[in-house]
Amino acid sequence: MSDRQLRKVLVLGSGPIIIGQAAEFDYAGTQACRSLREEGLEVILINSNPATIMTDTETADRVYIEPLTVEFCERVIDRERPDGVLATLGGQTGLNLATKLASAGILEKYGVLLLGTSLAAIQKAEDREMFRQLMHEIQEPVPESWIVENVDELLELSKNAPYPCIIRPAYTLGGTGGGVARSPEELIEIGKRGLSLSMRSQIMVERSLLGWKEVEYEVMRDSADNCITICNMENLDPMGVHTGDSIVVAPSQTLSDVEYHILRSASLKIIRALGVEGGCNVQLAVNPHSFDYYVIEVNPRVSRSSALASKATGYPIARVSAKVAIGKTLDEIENSITKTTKACFEPALDYCVVKIPRWPFDKFTAGDARLTTQMKATGEVMAIDRSFEDALMKAIRGLEVEQKDLRHEGFEKLSDEELESAVTEPTHERLWALAEALRRGWSVVRVNVLSKVDPWFLERIAALVAGRAEPNRTSFKMVDTCAGEFESRTPYYYCTSDPEDDHIPSQAKRTILVLGSGPIRIGQGIEFDYSCVHCAKALQREGYRAVILNNNPETVSTDFDTADALYFDPVTFEDAIRVMEHESVDGVMLQFGGQTAINLARRLSNAGAKIIGTQPTAIERAEDRDMFEKVLDKLDISRPEGAGVKSVDEALAVAQRIGYPVLVRPSFVLGGRAMEIVWSDDEMRSFIKSAARVSGDAPVLVDKYLPFTEAEVDAICDGTDTLIPGIMEHIERAGVHSGDSMAVYPAVNLSIDAQKEMVRITAAIARELGAKGMMNVQFVVDGDEVYVLEVNPRGSRTVPYISKAANIPMVSIATKCALGTTLAEQGYGSGVWDPANGTVSRFGIDPNVMTPPDPGLFAVKAPVFSFQKLSLVEPSLGPEMKSTGEVLGVDLTFSAALLKAITASNLDVPSGGTALLTVRDQDKPEAAEIAAELVSLGFDIVATAGTHAYLEEQGIEARKIAKIGKAEDNLLEAIRDRRIAILINTPSGDREAEAEALQIRCACVERGIPCLTSLDTARALTTALRAVERGEDVHCLHIEEYSKSQEDVRMKL
C-alpha cells in the first residue's frame, strides 16, 4: 500500500457515548487494535471514554485517556511519532478529528499517514455537494436536493421547495439537527438549527422519499479493488425514520434477486468511485412499486450498521477493516469464523435477524417521541431466529420494556381515530400500534396505506396477533457466516425450535454463565458490558469455561471470541435457564450485568441455579427498604430519615414527619428512573403515582433530602474483608444523580474523618451482608457526618473509571472473590487501594493510619448528555439520570484533570464572552461568587431582573436582560443569536417560571451553548478556566504513566 514500512499506528477512539455514537465503536476500536497487533504493529490509542475495553492497557500498547481534540492528538503524535493514524473505526468523531488534524497540517508536519480510506474519499462521501457530483458522474441516482450555507439561501429555497422535504446537516452524526419539514416555516426553523450545528455550516434540503423502502448495504473494499458485500438490511420503518431508529431485518426480505443485485452493484460501484479502503455503509431508498432507487448516503467508515451487520453475520467487519487499512487484501485475511476460508467472500445467513432500537422515552416521558431523520435511540437489541416472527418476538422480549409481546395497553384504549394516527406517525411504540390495528381486524392494505410499512412485515405481525404461538425452543444453532456450508468452530449460538443442536458443550471444564446487561439505555450503559467482558476473562484465567448471554449487538461482550461461547439471546429468566441447562453450568455470574441481571437473582436461585458471589438474600437485604434499614440499624449507620410507602396517604404522612424537601423514588430500578426531589404535598400527590407505576408491587421510597456533598465507593468483598479501590467525591451536591455528577478520585474536599467513616461503614455493611464480589455504596457527607444513601450489591457504573484511575483490575479481583478466593489469598485484604505503592492501605481499618492513600494523580469523570438529539427533554440535572456517556480527565492536579474532563465532555467551553445568569433565590449568594469569578476571568455577565438586582447589590457588574416576551431584546433572542456563551440557570420551584426556564435551557442545548443547572458544575468550570488562565501545566501522558507515583512521572518529564 505505501512506500514506507508501518511500525506504529495511532488509533482514534470515538469518545463518550452519545445518541448516534454508542458502544459499537468500542467493539470496533477494540477489534481494530487487536487486529493490528496481530499484524505485529505497535498500537497507540487515544480515547476519552474510560468505560471501554479499548482503553484497557492490554488492548493497545499505550493508551492515552485524553480529550479527543486536535491539541491533545498533536501532543500524542509528537510524543509517539506514529507512522500512521487509523480514524475510520472511531465513528464520526474519529473521522472529524482526522479531518481536522489533516487540515491543521499536523499529519503532514509529523509525516503521519492517514490509513485506509483517504481524506479525499472521506470528503467526497461526506460533503453533500461533492458526493452528488460524484453520483452524477457515475450515473447513480440521488434525490433532487439543494445545498444551503446561510439563512438567506434558506429563506429563498423555502419559497419553492417541494414539501415535505428533508433537512440534513453536513458533518454531524446520527442526523443531529436534521428533520422533515412540511411547510416553509418548518423548513426555516429546522434549517436554521441545522446550519448552526453543522461543522461546516452547511445543510442539504432534499425531496422527501417518505414511504419508500430503506435498504442498507454493508460493503468492503481493499487496496487491490476487491469489493464484497457483508450484508444487506431492510428497514421495517420506511424512509423518513433514521436507520438507527428503525426496526431492521437482515437480510432484506422483500427484494427479489434482481433488485438485490441492482442495489448491490450500485453500492460496489459507489465505493469503487470513492476509493474507500475498509468497511463502508451505503443507504438506499427503493421505490416499492418499481426498480427505481436513490442513493441516500454513504458512511466511509465502520458504523453502527456495520456493528449490527457484524453480529448479524458473524463477519468481523472492524477486524478486517483494520487489516485492509494497513494494506492487506481481503484474500490474504483469514475468515476467523471458519478458519478454513478467507475473509474475501460474502456471508450467507440461514436465519433471520431483527434489530429493535431502545429509546429513552420511558425515562423522558415529556420528550418528543416522534421518529424522524434525527436519531433518538440510545441502544438496540438484536434477535436471531429461523423465522421473522420468532426473531421479532425474541427481540421484543429482550428490550426490557413494559411490553413483553405485541400487546400494549395504551393502544388498546385508543379510539380507531386515535389509533389511525398512532399507526401513521412513527414513534418509539409504533410497532405495537401496528399490532393493535391488525388485532382490530384492520386489513393489511389499510395499515400499509397508513404506515407505508411493507405488507410482508404486516402479514407476519398479523399472524402473530392472530395467535401464532411462540415456539418451544429446545436447541441452539450456530452463526457461522456460511449457512452451514463449511465446518466452523465459532462458539456463537442462538436458540431455536429446530430439532438439531449445533453444539454439544464439552463437560471437560466447569462452566459459568455470565449474564450481560442487555440494550444500552440511560442508567445502564457500556460500563456494564466492560465489566462482563472482564468477568469472562477472569473466569477463563481461573480455569473455567465462561459463556456469555447477551443480546446487544453493539458490544464487545457479544463478540464471538470474548468468551468460550456466546449465546445471543435475550437476558431473561427463560433464556438464562435454557442456556444453563444446555451448558450444564456450575453457576451463574450476575453481579456485572447491571440491574437487568441482578433482578433475575431470586428467580434463578429458586429454580436451582447456583448464584456465584453475593447471594439473593444479601441482594434483597441491600435493595429492600425495610430489610436494608434493619441492616443499618443493626450496624448503627446513619441514613437520611425516611420510609417505604405504598399509598399517597402514607407518603404524605412520612413527608410531614421528616419535613420537605424529600427524595421520592421507586425501589429496584437503575439510573434513578422516576426519582424526584419533592418540595410540597401538592407535588407529592402528583409525583407519587408515576413512581408507584414504575415500582410495581415494591414500595416507593420517601427520604429526607440532604443537600450536602455526595460521595461513593466501589468495594470488592470476599465475605469477610473489604477492599476499596478508591473513594470518589461528587462535584455536584446530593440531589443530582450520581451518573450525572462529575466525580473526582481521590476525594479533594472530604474530611479525613468522613473518609474513614465511609471505609468503616462499607466494610461493616459488606461483612453483614456477606457480600462476595462487587458492591457500591453511595453517601451524603456533611462535614464529618456520613449518611448512607444506598447500597448496590453489584458492579456499578464507576467500575471502569476507578479500575483505570487507580490502576487495579477490579473485576478480576471481584470475580475471584465471588468464586471463593479471599482478598488475602489474592494479596490484598481490607483497606483502601494505594496505587502509588501497589499496596493496600489500612486507612479506615487501622486507626493508626491517619491519611488516605495518595494516588499521585487526579481523575475526574464528567457526564456527557445527548439532549441535542432529544427535543423537549428537560436538560437540567436532578435525581433522575439523563446522561448517556462519560469521559475521564486525568492529570497531576485537580484543576488540570477537571479542565480535561470538561473539555472532553463536548461542552463547548468558552474562554470568554457573555455568561447569562438566572437563578433561584436561595442560590443567589453562591451565584454571586461565581459571577465575580467569571468577571475576573474576563466574562461579561447578563442576568434576569432578580439575579441582576442581587448582583448589583453585591457590587458585581452585570447587565440586565428581559425575560421572554418582555422586550424585543430578551434572553431567548440573545441565545438564539448566540450572543450568550454560557448559561447558568438553577430551576426554581415555580411552575410558570420553570416553563420559561425550560424554553431557555432547550434553546441553549439546541445551539450547543453550555447550559449549567447546578452551581457546583459552574464552580468546577471556573476552577478549570482559572487553571487555563494561570497557565497551569496540563500533561499528555499515557495512562500508565499517570498511574505511577507523581515523583516518578515528574522525573520523566
Binding site: 458485500t229 416499492p288 487484501t329 429446530d498 438439531e500
Partner: protein, 369 residues
C-alpha cells in the same frame, strides 16, 4: 398430511407439504443464496436435483413473470424451511406454493434444513425422495433408482430445435437478424436465458443449437464465436458434446460457461471429478491468478475440472476458487478458447462477472463494430 423426505441411506425428515402432492426423486443438493429461488427453480442445471435452500424464508417476494431462466421448472423438487404464504413485491404474481402446484412440482417445508445441510456437507450429496406416502416404500424405490450421475439430463433439457435470441428475446431461428454487432452460436446443454439476454443487451444475437449439433452444423450458422452453455449432470456422459467442442477448437473462438468449462477441459484432454457437495450459491470467491483480483461469483456445479489432468494440454488454469482451490477458469489462448466454471450471467447472484460477455465479444473482434 405430512410429507417425508427420504434419503438413500434411510434417513427420514418429516415436514409439511409444499407444491404438488406428487412424489419426487432426485439428488439432494443445497444452495446458500438468500435470493433467487425463481431463477434456480427454472435453471436447467438443476434438472434431476431436489434443491434445498439454506436461507429459511423462501418465497418472500413471490413469483413474477420475468425472472425465469428457461421455459419450465427444471429442479425435481424444492426443500425449504418455510415458504412464504404472503409474498410481497411489486412484480409478484403468485405465491411460491401456488406456482409449484400449478407446475406440478413437489416440495417439502418445515424441516430442519440446517441439519440436512450439515449432513450433506459431511456425507456428500445423495439421492432422495419426497413422498406423501410410506417412507419405506420410497426407500425401496431409491434403492433401485438410477443414480444422478448415471443419467444424461442434457438430452432432456437441451432445445429440441434451433432458435434465436435477439433484442426482443426468443425468436424463430429464421427471424431477420439485422442490426446486431455480432452473432454467437450457443451449444445448448441447458442454457440459461440470462446468458442470451446479456449478449442481446450488448448487441449480439444468439443462435441456440441443440446439444446434438455437431461442429459443421454449428459453423454452418457462420457465428463469430461459440458459447458452450452450462447444463446438468456428469460431464463424462457427454461424449458427443465433448467431441463437438474438440472439433471446434482452433476453428473459432470458444467461450465455455460452467458445464461449458468442463466440456472444454475434456476436449483438451483433461478430466473432471465429482465434488462432495458442490458449489451452489451466490457468494463464491474466485481468484484470477493473472491479476490477483478476487471476484464474488454465482455458482452452481457439482463437478469440477481436475487441474492436474490439464498439465501438458496447452491449456492454462487461470482462476481458482479461494475456498477450496478448485479450478474456476481455463484458457487455451492459442486455440482462442477460454471458459469459466461460474456464472457471469448471474441470475441469481452478483453481477461482478458480467464483463465477460463484453470481453468475449471483444475477443471475437466485434465489440466496437
Amino acid at each position: 398430511m405430512p410429507k417425508h423426505l427420504v434419503l438413500k441411506d434411510g434417513t427420514v425428515y418429516t415436514g409439511e407439504p409444499l407444491g404438488s402432492d406428487a412424489d419426487a426423486m432426485g439428488e439432494v443438493v443445497f444452495n446458500t443464496g438468500m435470493t433467487g429461488y425463481q431463477e434456480i427453480l427454472s435453471d436447467p442445471s438443476y434438472a434431476g436435483q431436489m434443491v434445498l435452500f439454506t436461507y429459511p424464508l423462501i418465497g418472500n417476494y413471490g413469483i413474477n413473470d420475468d425472472d425465469f431462466e428457461s421455459e419450465r421448472v427444471q429442479a425435481a423438487a424444492m426443500i425449504v424451511k418455510e415458504a412464504a404464504k404472503h409474498p410481497s413485491n411489486w412484480r409478484s404474481k403468485k405465491t411460491l406454493d401456488d406456482f409449484l402446484r400449478e407446475k406440478g412440482v413437489s416440495g417439502i417445508q418445515g424441516i430442519d434444513t440446517r441439519a440436512l445441510t450439515k449432513r450433506l456437507r459431511s456425507s456428500g450429496v445423495t439421492m432422495g425422495m419426497i413422498t406423501s406416502g410410506d417412507p419405506s416404500e420410497a426407500l425401496a424405490k431409491l434403492a433401485s433408482a438410477r443414480d444422478y450421475g448415471e443419467r444424461n439430463f442434457v438430452e432432456e433439457v437441451s432445445a429440441p430445435a434451433p432458435y434465436a435470441w435477439g433484442f426482443e428475446g426468443r425468436e424463430p431461428i429464421d427471424a431477420a437478424g439485422d442490426g446486431y454487432k455480432c452473432k454467437v452460436a450457443v451449444l445448448d446443454l441447458g442454457v440459461k436465458y440470462n446468458i442470451l439476454r446479456r449478449f442481446a443487451a450488448l448487441g449480439c444475437r444468439s443462435v441456440v443449437l441443440p446439444q446434438s449439433a455437431g461442429a459443421p452444423e454449428i459453423l454452418g450458422w457462420k457465428p463469430d464465436g461459440v458459447v458452450i452453455s452450462p447444463g446438468p449432470g456428469d460431464p463424462k456422459n457427454l461424449s458427443r458434446a465433448i467431441g463437438t467442442v474438440k472439433d471446434l477448437l482452433g476453428a473459432i473462438p470458444i467461450f465455455g460457461i460452467c458445464l461449458g468449462n468442463q466440456m472444454l477441459a475434456h476436449a483438451l484432454g483433461g478430466s473432471t471429478f465429482k465434488l462432495k457437495f458442490g458449489h451452489r450459491g451466490s457468494n463464491h470467491p474466485v481468484k484470477d491468478l493473472r491479476t490477483g483480483r478476487v471476484t464474488i461469483t454465482s455458482q452452481n456445479h457439482g463437478y469440477a475440472v481436475d487441474a492436474e489432468s490439464l498439465v501438458g494440454s496447452g491449456a492454462e488454469v487461470d482462476q481458482l476458487n479461494l475456498n477450496d482451490g478448485t479450478v474456476e477458469g481455463i484458457r487455451a489462448d492459442k486455440l482462442r478458447a477460454r471458459s469459466i466454471q461460474y456464472h457471469p450471467e448471474a441470475a441469481p447472484g452478483p453481477w461482478d462477472s458480467r464483463p465477460y460477455f463484453a470481453e468475449f465479444m471483444e475477443s471475437i473482434g466485434t465489440a466496437g463494430a
